[in-house]
């Protein structure tokens, strides 16, 4: 079996390549000492300057980081203040907008005996799988009734994945502990 002739037949001669080698300065001498310690001291200058500012550690979880007003944390569902009816009508537009497909809505019809929301329908099931949510806030944008907003809570760790599926009751309830908010201009 003869090898096929290569298109660029052996025109390459190694002697044509120029190889430039740069060498570091020889060790030792004053230049050598500066190179060993000078740059280190320059970095340490920043370190020691911060020492005088005092301790800056936040004692989480006893103490919490305040978030900006537009911080996108865990979702909240809302009620009308006067009537106590849920704002959500179960239209499922949030589920349609959700890029992570983490919202599930099953709607039902309000009856005169059991009126849950202001419209004809209400969300009988409203679940957000927070282990899948990417906190993009599209649900809030899609909602035609301002029924869902992104809250400020960010403490969302749990021992079970299934515990991270938040139901309507959990989303409607006020969080046990309010997340501190940054004041204007802070």
């Amino acid at each position: 079996m003869s090898p096929a002739p290569s298109p660029s037949k052996g025109n390459w001669t190694p002697g044509d390549d120029q190889i430039a080698v740069q060498r570091a300065p020889e060790p030792g001498g004053a230049g050598g000492a500066y190179r060993a310690f000078g740059e280190t001291l320059r970095g340490l200058k920043t370190t020691f300057a911060r020492v005088v500012e005092g301790v800056n550690t936040i004692q989480y979880p006893e103490e919490k980081v305040a978030v900006y007003p537009r911080f996108r944390g865990r979702h909240k569902l809302h009620r009308f203040e006067e009537s106590g009816l849920e704002k959500c009508v179960g239209c499922s537009l949030c589920a349609a907008a959700c890029p992570a497909d983490c919202i599930r809505v099953v709607a039902a019809e309000n009856t005169p005996e059991m009126r849950v929301s202001a419209g004809e329908r209400y969300a009988a099931v409203y679940e957000i799988n927070l282990s899948r949510c990417i906190f993009c806030g599209y649900c809030e944008v899609a909602c035609p009734f301002d029924a869902i907003t992104m809250g400020h809570d960010y403490e969302l760790s749990d021992y079970n994945r299934s515990d991270l599926i938040f139901t309507k009751e959990m989303l409607l309830a006020e969080p046990l502990e309010a997340t501190p908010l940054r004041a204007q201009g802070e």
């Binding site: 009508v89 179960g90 239209c91 499922s92 537009l93 589920a95 349609a96 809505v105 099953v106 709607a107 039902a108 019809e109 419209g119 004809e120 329908r121 035609p144 009734f145």
Partner: protein, 835 residues
């Protein structure tokens, strides 16, 4: 009327040269050039356009004003602009105008997301409204019927639903009330719109004004998936799309197939899906243990069934029906014939028809297609009631009569809903269709009519008149007959077909509506006492037909009964004989979805049956179209595929292990049924394949014309009436189990003529006892002017008091000696018998 011939012409739309059939409406023709013209009121299925909504305005060169594309026929050389400045301004104005009164409640509207008004507003609207005045308000939502909700605020008055009710279903119930901006859709006096085909207006409505109540707020379009399959609740086998969410069927939509259903569905097909997910449904195998039914594991149930069948061996009989597929029929035949050595299986309740007649009836030369009903010169409806037996065919017949001038000729025992559309009607004695066919054949050949007409209980003069009308109508004649005509004898029907020369004429033919939803397929798959797969000679000789099976089970000559999707106690004639038969049978194995009486009282092993949304396999339409069922959802609970159970049983009983997949069983079916040879599962996808269209015509040998077998019709005498029976469109356990449809589930009613009622002294709505020497049942009297005097009609296939409890032919009707004796008003009775 023969099918219209179409010339191709060329016209230009938005600068594209498009070829289209001449006189096609512009809105349709533009689609051929990939140009969409927005429409609301236009729907070709509704017949002539009305141009009510003005959404489709386009500019046509040479015509000074804008034209409605839905009502302008396309002509050669036409130049159309749909996106010119004038057209755009007009489209935006129309959208703005339609939205003046349309509420902005899309988030709570069920149509939201699949709404033509949303789509067209987005695509062709101006995006702004200048209207700040208050919108009109109505109370919302109202029940138009228990199945349909109407929200009148959302209505854009496109007339589609009203036109449908007036011109397609012809129930004339929906009307537009009031005038001007107060106009709304409703019924004349506000009574509910209950009709066999009312659900179609939900799909027709281009906005959310008419919505389905069972589907109300169940899901939004992005939550669901559509899964195409078939409805197997009746022989019409309409193509449907199951709407599935979270592995549950939530809705059934029509899947347009011109050769099957023309895009319509009946309410039973549309709403009986609820029976898939009810608690009453059997979802685990059961056995009878000490007289009580007990849920057991599959292994236990199969072991029980195996030992029972092994004990019975060749003394086993089998019945198949319901929605059983061709594959299940084939496997049942193999289980009985090859494994157990018994030839006794049947899929019909009537007397056996000879194998030669079956072959003759399935001759492709005699076959008609469903669309032939629409273009024939005449349609002869013979011994069937289309709205009850295969509802969607009724709409097709009405379409032919209304739009193409088809002459409709009716010959039936019971007055039909089609009577007002018919040019000629003839009544005969119940159960004497075969004799009438002989009489008609004789009349067409100028033979002796008197004897067969008398046997049929019809007047010879009327038979001659009908024959004259048949001959004068033209040569393309389609005969739509019910299977009850084939009670032991198909000779009359074949003689009639010969007399009309149907075999030689293109566009003429026979369509037989079987009793079971897949009756034709089961027959062709070999579930016949005297025919193997593809009407081959049965390997073990002729077996017993259904009536003989009942008798032999009662005598103890047979000992086991295998019921595939059928309960003879409920749906077969002569319940008394079946009661005896089931009582004496040692083993009764039933595939059942519901505990119907025969199953509940007598089954020793129950296998949970699949619903049509879960089934996989093929079924055969009455016109020979082999169609494919595809599973839309998984099996709930412990349900298993029926074909799997059947082949597992065959294996446990020492037979050959069958194929491991449903597709494998289908392949075996196509290989072993001669008529289906060469079919492949892939080509059945979507529209199915009519095997008669591929098969060569069978050259019928010039066999001597069979001698008419005439059974003399009984006469009403001594105050006793002739008994006739019918199966209502609403009969069946699925209707009784569906919460939305339950209000339509029939109770026994006896139809009498007013003259007989006066003689008997009973009133409309009164509770009576109907009895013969066999038994007695309670029924409510319904008086119908058109009922021939001397006959009484009862309903079959009811949960209780079904007509099969009486044997007839004569029954006695007398006032019920009940304690209450009150006159009840019948729910929706006028709506159901709009004749």
């Amino acid at each position: 009327m023969p099918r219209p011939h179409q010339n191709l012409i060329t016209f230009s739309v938005d600068g594209r040269e498009v070829q289209a059939p001449e006189n096609m409406m512009l809105a349709d023709a533009a689609k051929l050039g990939d140009v969409e013209i927005p429409v609301f009121c236009y729907e070709p299925k509704l017949g002539h356009p009305v141009g009510a909504c003005r959404m489709c305005l386009v500019e046509i060169e040479g015509i000074p004003k804008l034209q409605t594309a839905c009502s302008t026929a396309v002509k050669d050389g036409m130049v159309v602009h749909t996106q010119s400045e004038r057209a755009r301004v007009a489209q935006q104005a129309v959208v703005e105008f339609l939205l003046i009164n349309h509420p902005l409640d899309c988030p709570v509207c069920d149509k939201g997301g699949e709404c033509p008004l949303q789509d067209i507003t987005f695509g062709w609207g101006g995006g702004k409204s200048r209207f700040i005045e208050p919108k009109r308000h109505f109370r919302k939502p109202l029940e138009l019927s228990p199945l349909i909700a109407i929200d009148r605020e959302r209505c854009i008055l496109c007339y589609r639903c009203v036109r449908y009710s007036q011109e397609v279903a012809e129930d004339y119930q929906l009307v537009l009330l009031e005038r001007g901006e107060n106009t709304f859709v409703g019924t004349f006096d506000g009574h509910p719109y209950v009709a066999p085909f009312s659900g179609n207006i939900i799909e027709l409505c281009p906005v959310g004004a008419l919505t389905s109540r069972p589907y109300r707020f169940r899901a939004r379009p992005w939550d669901i998936e559509g899964s195409g399959s078939l409805c197997t609740l009746c022989p019409a086998q309409c193509n449907v799309t199951f709407t599935v969410r979270d592995d549950r069927v939530l809705r059934v939509l029509a899947r347009d197939h011109h050769e099957v259903d023309d895009g319509w569905l009946c309410d039973k097909g549309r709403f009986a899906y609820q029976a898939v997910h009810v608690d009453e449904r059997i979802t685990a195998p059961m056995i009878r243990d000490g007289g009580e039914l007990r849920t057991v594991s599959w292994e236990r149930a199969l072991a029980e069934a195996t030992s029972g069948l092994r004990r019975a061996g060749a003394k086993t009989a089998a019945l198949a029906g319901g929605g059983a597929t061709n594959e299940e029929g084939l496997l049942l035949g193999r289980l009985l014939r090859d494994v157990l050595g018994s030839p006794h299986l049947d899929s019909r309740s009537g007397g056996a028809v000879s194998l030669a007649d079956w072959r003759a009836l399935s001759d492709p030369a005699l076959a008609a297609t469903v669309s032939d009903l629409e273009f024939a010169n005449a349609v002869l409806v013979l011994d069937c009631e289309p709205v009850d037996d295969a509802p969607i065919l009724e709409l097709r017949i009405r379409k032919g009569v209304r739009r193409n001038g088809v002459a409709l000729l009716l010959a039936s025992a019971r007055p039909s809903a089609l009577d007002p559309s018919a040019t000629e009607t003839l009544r005969f004695a119940p159960g004497r269709g075969a004799e009438l066919a002989w009489a008609l054949a004789a009349a067409l050949q100028d033979g002796a009519v008197d004897a067969p007409a008398a046997a049929a209980g019809a007047s010879a003069e009327e038979v001659r008149k009908l024959a004259r009308a048949l001959r004068e109508a033209g040569e393309e004649i389609v005969i739509l007959y019910g299977e009850q005509l084939l009670d032991g004898d198909a000779g009359g029907l074949l003689a009639l077909a010969d007399a009309l020369g149907i075999a030689e004429i293109e566009g003429a033919g026979l369509i037989g509506i079987p009793e079971a939803a897949n009756g034709r397929g089961l027959r062709e798959a070999g579930v016949l006492p005297n025919g193997g797969p593809g009407f081959s000679a049965p390997p073990l000789g002729d077996g017993l037909d259904a009536a003989a099976i009942a008798a032999k089970l009662g005598d103890g000559e047979l000992s086991a009964l295998y019921l595939l999707g059928v309960d003879p106690l409920r749906s077969f004639p002569d319940a008394g004989a079946w009661e005896q038969a089931l009582e004496h049978a040692t083993t009764v194995i039933a595939h059942a979805a519901f505990l119907t009486p025969g199953v509940r009282e007598h089954a020793t092993v129950i296998f949970p049956a699949e619903s049509s949304a879960e089934k996989e396999g093929t079924v055969t339409h009455p016109d020979g179209r082999v169609q494919r069922l595809r599973p839309a959802i998984g099996h709930p609970g412990d349900v298993r595929a029926e074909w799997r159970t059947l082949s597992e049983l065959a294996r446990l009983l020492g037979g050959a292990a069958g194929p491991a997949t449903a597709a494998g069983v289908s392949a075996e079916l196509f290989a072993s049924v001669g008529l289906y040879n060469g079919l492949e599962l892939e080509e059945l996808a979507g529209h199915g394949v009519r095997w008669p269209a591929r098969a060569p015509a069978v050259a019928r040998s010039g066999e001597a014309a069979a001698k008419p077998k005439l059974r003399r019709a009984a006469q009403a005498k001594g105050g006793r009436l002739l008994l006739g029976s019918y199966r209502s469109i609403w009969a069946g356990p699925e209707v009784e189990a569906s919460p939305a449809l339950r209000f339509l589930a029939p109770r026994q009613r006896v139809e009498l003529s007013p003259r007989d009622a006066a003689k008997l002294g009973v009133l409309h709505g009164e509770e009576v006892l109907v009895s013969d020497d066999q038994g007695e049942l309670r029924a409510t009297v319904v008086l119908r002017d058109s009922t021939p005097s001397g006959t009484a009609f009862l309903e079959r296939d009811l949960a209780r008091d079904g007509a099969n409890r009486l044997r007839g032919p004569l029954v006695e009707v007398r006032t019920a000696p009940s304690g209450n004796g009150d006159v009840e008003t019948l729910l929706g009775e006028e709506e159901l018998t709009h004749a």
